[in-house]
Symmetry: C2
């Protein structure tokens, strides 16, 4: 028996809170709303999802009478994509919810993500297994994977593998792409009368699977709390030592929700929001300039220290860099044979000589280390590996150069020493906060209730989560309702629309009213580590993003 | 009024626990032991500390009767060196202890470390100020600094600045060097009848200020818990994604206590302990080989993931690298004028061409990026900046090369993808754990008791801390007792002997019995974040290092 930590031991006993509708079990009264459409491209979506399109939004109420047991079924569950805190609690919720429908119900976990479904690798999740993982972080109970369920061949394998295990319902826990594919699979099964329901659950620390009906993707709260704990500690350190500017890159490729939430929690001196960079068409030079101005203003007040937050995906939001990367991808792909033999300096020189003049100028403005990274690190498709680019080091170096120029011109008198950090992997597998533990368990339980209600092509939805859990609203949202068509790899595809940071949304607007003050003052807030046992005002928190979105204030 | 986080608000009310001897106030009964000597070089130490040498170890007991108030005094407090969690609680303990001796006692905080004493920059610490910082991390209440108090000129300034404020007692909170200097200052004041007592408090997250009488330096517990939280999260992530080896560098220059404690807490697949590297005279190649063997063994068992811990100071413990760095320092200093104009490649080439043949071979075995770092980044004295060398990236790259060679030779079939991390600044300013909050407050209170008892040249000592606080033993240790003479910058100096990891000590021996299992199995432990409000077995922990040292078992 492996050793477990004292906290794990104590935390295992936590019983996640449920919405009132689910308190007596997953056999619920289902209220149906009006038929639904799609966020855009309604006809295209309707054509693609002939049997699942148009289903109503479902809201649960506690069943008013004992309804007896449903026939026993076998169900399967899949974790898809990157880890997010609370995944195990979704599974525990599905498990407990199914058992409440009929104690003879059985749950199988497909191993290593969608691949397990395609290859037929599964393990039955018994009470012993589920109990060992309640309220823990990670996806190690059954593993995860990034295989995309897209082809009819995969779907047929899935059907056959479900048939072998007698599985008639699948819960797919994933991000926007995985839920889109869950819906495609639901449509396939339904239109082919496979007799297998498919339910999705919204997961991603990035927070970009979010809309009117899905108010949060699970894991976002916990990940942001871990990052904010660390950023708060760095703020204290900066304010104590008074000698470093810390440049902190935060995970989150396609949206800056994490950076914004962490900024709201810790009040750093500067936070880059990628969506603003794109909207304002800011050049890299303009970003560097804004940061350097904050540094100079603080230096003038005797404060040669500070904190800057940078979203991981920034570089793809800067118009000129986006063009540069596209050109580099093209250039290095077309000339792959010729440049393969070159060392990194050779590749860099080749790139510099063959880019368009605009991109060549941008390229040469970058620090040499970054130029090399852009040319050296390619993914298996030959593309620049954006996630490997050390944006935090790049910005720190470029701000340093800018300040040196200002110093030479007599515009700036200060000291500028930097430390850089990247917080990402540290937060993806943290044990879930109470919010995520409760939310995930409720999502899983809701998924079981949707199975019990015989639905397919739905995403489990739990709303009103800024209120105590008893007041949370559980139900199901037709996945087609959240879709539109987007251009992907040269073809139009149905996808769930990604939620970017809205510049006219309450979270960004609040940030915008505060940031000038945070830049110059030292107004750091120190959130500290996630607490599980303390007073409710310390343990049962929601994100500031959600509070601002729902209440318009903190 | 700045916003504070919910946790800060709740935590402000925490009343740190005290040893029974101090429960009724800092006016205690003082038990004197026998006269003391020094750990080595007794005569030399006696000669340097003519008036403070030989004092007895002091142990406190609760005073058996009301003894009335002592005359009112003014005292000063100084934070010296790098931040460590709990510094504010030491100050709160000094403050409360002084007030218990006489409510009219006043405490001044010298600003920005020892510099504040020399320059006479101080602020009176009122109850309002102290209350705002109770149980918080950081040193931002009065700041810290790295100025060394060493010269008679500084001591005279200190005397004059104390006189201006009517200060007759100083508490210096710092690491081994700062406490050594506190003792030199105590000796100076005493031999010159300045009438100013000096008391030291043992601080450093590195854990290397530790001996028979000082069982822990404060901050070590909290910092290790923050790092272990993050390492545990990475372990979960590695075990969930099953595709990365994470190389984690941990703060701690001269000793590997942090790496060892974090290894005991999280059970990674490999942990480098610098003291072992030095004792076994391991080459860099041998370290790379050991890690690569663990990677290969796991790969053979289908596990292409893992966690490696690396102490920040490693590179200086590898004999051949130590020689290389010494040669580089010499080479680049002697030829400073000639190489200043060269770019980094030029400097690297110059170094390669002019090193001894042994060092040139070592140098060329290093990844190019590290070669450049060694030649580019110099401190103000022209020395290699060891702390800037990205040892974690270097080892990851070299292990990768070794595995590639083994793969080519058919010895290894696996995938090896890495992520690197450096955890340091994140932990120095975390809010103190209960252990550090209690320990620090007790240390400060003990310092006040030593002032009340009229002592000087003592370090506050709180022992038996694996037991509940009421059973802790408070008292004072003559600083001279912990000293010996060491060669520093070409001269013999009295210093407190640094505590390195002892290879025959219980913590390392326990690690040694376990590590072969941890390497191959996946036995990770997930400590999770520091808890403040839960059950005592979750909140009131001591380090595993201390438990093993005191009990010989966990």
């Amino acid at each position: 028996m492996s050793r477990i930590s004292p906290l794990q031991k104590a935390r295992a006993a936590y019983q996640p809170k449920l919405p009132a509708a689910l308190a007596a079990g997953a056999r619920v009264k289902v209220l149906e709303g009006e038929p639904t459409a799609a966020v855009a491209d309604v006809e295209a979506i309707r054509n693609l999802f002939k049997t699942t399109f148009g289903s109503p939004v479902l809201t649960f109420e506690a069943a008013s009478c004992g309804c007896g047991e449903l026939p026993a079924i076998n169900a399967g569950v899949i974790l898809s994509g990157g880890q997010a805190p609370g995944g195990h609690n979704v599974i525990a919720g599905v498990f407990d919810g199914l058992k409440s429908l009929n104690p003879a119900n059985r749950l199988f976990g497909f191993l290593k993500g969608p691949d397990g479904l395609v290859k037929g690798e599964a393990v039955e999740l018994t009470a012993d297994i589920v109990d060992a993982y309640r309220n823990t972080g990670g996806f190690d109970m059954i593993g995860s994977g990034r295989t995309k369920l897209e082809t009819p061949e995969q779907f047929e394998c899935a059907r056959a593998n479900c048939a072998k295990l007698g599985i008639t319902a699948l819960v797919i826990i994933g991000g926007d792409d995985s839920n889109t594919n869950a819906c495609v699979l639901a449509e396939y099964f339904k239109s082919n009368q496979a007799g297998i329901q498919v339910i999705g659950c919204p997961k991603t620390i990035d927070g970009d699977l979010k809309n009117e009906w899905i108010e949060a993707s699970f894991g976002f709260d916990t990940a942001c709390r871990v990052y904010s704990e660390l950023i708060g500690n760095l703020c204290r350190d900066a304010n104590s030592a008074k000698k470093y500017w810390h440049f902190v890159k935060l995970m989150g490729r396609s949206a800056s929700h994490i950076a914004l939430e962490c900024a709201l929690q810790t009040q750093p001196n500067y936070a880059v929001i990628s969506e603003e960079v794109a909207a304002r068409k800011m050049t890299l030079g303009a970003i560097v300039d804004e940061i350097a101005q904050v540094v100079a203003a603080r230096a003038a007040a005797g404060k040669n220290f500070g904190i800057v937050l940078i979203p991981e995906g920034l570089i793809e939001f800067i118009p000129e860099i986006k063009v540069l990367i596209a050109e580099l991808n093209e250039l290095l792909a077309v000339n792959a044979a010729q440049i393969e033999a070159l060392d990194v300096e050779g590749k860099t020189a080749f790139a510099a000589a063959n880019l368009s003049s605009a991109s060549a100028a941008v390229f040469s403005s970058l620090p040499v280390g970054i130029q090399n990274q852009l040319c050296r690190d390619r993914d298996p498709h030959g593309n620049v590996q954006v996630s490997l680019i050390e944006t935090e080091k790049m910005l720190a170096a470029m701000v340093g150069e800018r300040l040196a120029a200002w110093k030479a011109a007599g515009r700036y008198k200060g000291k500028f020493a930097t430390q850089t950090h990247f917080f990402g992997y540290e937060g993806r597998c943290a044990a879930p906060s109470n919010y995520d533990a409760d939310y995930c368990y409720s999502l899983g339980y809701t998924a079981a209730a949707l199975i019990g209600a015989g639905r397919t092509g739905y995403m489990a939805s739990v709303r009103n989560t800024i209120e105590p859990a008893a007041q949370w609203i559980a139900g199901g949202i037709p996945i087609t309702m959240m879709m539109n068509m987007e251009r992907r790899h040269g073809a139009d595809k149905p996808v769930i629309r990604k939620a970017l940071v809205e510049l006219d949304g309450a979270p960004f607007r609040f940030f915008d009213t505060q940031r000038a003050g945070w830049a110059i003052e030292t107004d750091y807030v120190y959130p500290g580590p996630i607490q599980y046992f303390g007073p409710s005002e310390v343990c049962d928190l929601t994100t500031m993003t959600l509070k601002l979105e729902k209440q318009g204030r903190l």
